[in-house]
């Protein structure tokens, strides 16, 4: 098992702001490595340093054995990237965008022609290949960007929120292709995402907050940190309910966007007991296995998206992407 990404004490400051704060980790060849964290945690900044777009303030990092500061050309040759923000030439057609990419990555003509066809068909864009990207929908553009990132079969593929704004079917479809390609070409994948289910495709996940890695393990091991099951309930009087749970079961319940929630062993057996004895009015109750959200909550005391309000913000982010990249503002 070779370490294909090595990061040691990496720091990136923007003025007074410390975007990446003494981060160290290693990624093994062939692995899917996930970066999970709230907005502004430093995920994109770390990727920018690893792919030579930014210079670290301190620390060192290498990719495929090459130093990201001193051996930039070699590093660039080893990686593929799907940026978080739009990065297509919207004045060119889908085909021309891919041909440009094949050109700069030195894929021979005969190979690139086949591969472009394969990728465009997989992404359901083959019929639209000659259309100017400007006329594409947001989802179509995103698909094209993903296809472009994969086109040259990089050693390491960075996916920065790759499926933001795509419908579940398309996400599923694209992931199948990526995972298949990874096996076939032994590609290492570095992923950042806000979708919890997407994060669980990762072999290992680093949870990052305020520029620091606060946990790094397999998804299952991370979830085990939470301990038991998560019980969520909605009550007539939230305060009274929290108080009652504390009094009767000695459990410190918390209030979040979904309602009141707490951890407990054997949630299914606990619920009937709770319901039978509950004094306050109860609207709903449910039990579930812990998710990575809960892990983040456990580690930081915050919900991963509480400052943003979940789905609504994702829509907003997506709208911003659209506004920025979809611009017919400039001629």
């Amino acid at each position: 098992m070779r370490e294909i990404i090595e990061v040691e004490h990496l720091v990136k400051k923007f003025g007074d702001l410390i975007a990446v704060d003494d981060v160290s980790f290693k990624v093994v060849e062939g692995e899917i490595f996930g970066f999970l964290g709230p907005n502004g945690a430093g995920k994109t900044t770390t990727i920018n340093i690893l792919c030579t777009l930014m210079r670290p303030t301190a620390g060192r990092a290498s990719l495929n054995g090459f130093d990201v500061v001193r051996q930039q050309n070699e590093v660039r040759r080893s990686l593929g990237l799907v940026f978080q923000d739009p990065s297509l030439d919207i004045k060119l057609s889908a085909l021309q965008n891919l041909e440009f990419h094949a050109g700069v990555y030195n894929i021979p003509r005969s190979v690139s022609r086949e591969r472009i066809e394969e990728v465009l068909k997989m992404l359901d864009l083959w019929d639209r290949r000659k259309d100017v990207v400007q006329h594409f929908s947001g989802g179509m553009r995103r698909r094209l960007e993903i296809g472009r990132g994969l086109l040259h079969y990089p050693k390491v593929l960075f996916l920065d929120e790759p499926t933001l704004g795509l419908d579940p079917q398309t996400r599923f479809h694209i992931w199948n292709y990526i995972i298949e390609l990874r096996k076939r070409e032994n590609i290492t994948i570095f992923l950042t995402t806000h979708y919890m289910d997407e994060a669980t495709v990762a072999d290992r996940i680093a949870i990052i907050d305020h520029g620091k890695i606060i946990a790094l393990d397999t998804p299952d091991a991370l979830k085990r940190m939470v301990g038991g099951d998560i019980v969520t309930l909605k009550a007539e009087n939230a305060e009274a309910a929290v108080e009652e749970i504390r009094h009767h079961y000695n459990i410190e319940a918390q209030r979040g966007s979904e309602g009141i929630f707490f951890e407990v062993q054997n949630g299914e057996e606990f619920i009937p007991t709770l319901v039978n004895n509950f004094k306050s009015g109860l609207y709903s109750i449910s039990v579930r296995r812990p998710t990575l959200d809960d892990v983040f909550m456990k580690l930081t005391g915050r919900e991963i998206r509480e400052e943003e309000g979940g789905a609504a913000v994702m829509k907003k982010q997506w709208a911003m992407r659209q506004a920025r990249g979809g611009g017919t503002r400039f001629h």
């Binding site: 920018n48 739009p86 990065s87 440009f100 700069v104």
Partner: protein, 264 residues
């Protein structure tokens, strides 16, 4: 090899975009046409046309200036395209690609210069309007000059664009640089009658030498002698004009390449 391929691909993309942009192709005729036919006729029929000794033909005079104007303004568009690429994110795709930053900058400069030269060549259709005649050899020399001139100017545009990150700021800088470069040159009026302080500014303006070289080819060096630039009492010959333009281009090109290589 890798670097050459990079230059070629970056250059090719700019040409593709130019070719696709029909609106720009058409508009590239309209401005010069308005200048030559309306502005030119207007001036020629008023004070300036009459002030000469009878054989001063203003439209003939301004024609090489208009070619210079087209080359100047089109070249600056290369800088605009870099700022756009940054704004739309495409620049990142270019900057993480395994081609050197130097070849990106050179490809961009060559692409912009090619487009500017093509637009300059379009101006040759106005030859009949401008009461000038040229041999085929002169036409080729003119085209070569346009290319050297525009390569210098695209390098300058790239240098500015590599320093200035937002479209708004770039537009401000362009207004502050482009218009003085244009008006403080012999493009639209003979400069030998200017007051000394303006006349000096003209001599410090590299664009003046580019325009002068175009005029020497179009009108012939004898006929254009009276409009030429004088340094230390000597009239600049075409070779020295070109040398000034080329030197300016080399300085700008070096600066542009250097600042393209700087990382955030």
């Amino acid at each position: 090899m890798n670097n050459l391929r990079g230059v070629y691909i970056v250059w090719y993309r700019d040409l593709l975009r130019f070719w696709r942009d029909r609106a720009r192709l058409i508009s590239s005729f309209i401005m010069p046409f308005l200048f030559l036919v309306i502005f030119g006729t207007g001036i020629a029929s008023s004070v300036m046309g009459r002030a000469g000794d009878g054989d001063f033909d203003y439209i003939q005079f301004m024609y090489p200036g208009i070619i210079g104007m087209v080359v100047l303004f089109t070249s600056i568009m290369t800088g605009v395209s870099v700022v756009w690429d940054r704004e739309f994110g495409f620049l990142k795709e270019v900057l993480v690609a395994p081609i050197s930053r130097t070849s990106v900058a050179i490809g961009k400069a060559l692409g912009g210069a090619t487009i500017a030269t093509i637009q300059g060549i379009f101006m040759l259709v106005f030859i009949p309007f401008a009461h000038v005649s040229m041999t085929v050899g002169e036409a080729f020399l003119l085209i070569a000059l346009m290319f050297v001139f525009s390569l210098s100017l695209t390098s300058m545009g790239l240098f500015i664009a590599s320093r200035i990150k937002s479209m708004e700021a770039f537009q401000v800088v362009v207004q502050m640089v482009l218009f003085p470069l244009f008006f403080l040159s012999p493009a639209m009026f003979p400069t030998q009658f200017l007051p000394a302080w303006l006349g000096t500014a003209v001599k410090f303006n590299p664009v003046s030498y580019g325009i002068d070289s175009l005029r020497q080819v179009v009108l012939g060096s004898q006929e254009s002698a009276m409009f030429g630039i004088e340094l230390f009492g000597y009239r600049m010959p075409i070779v020295l004009d070109i040398a000034v333009v080329a030197l300016f281009g080399i300085i700008m090109g070096t600066l542009a390449i250097r600042s393209f290589r700087v990382q955030e």
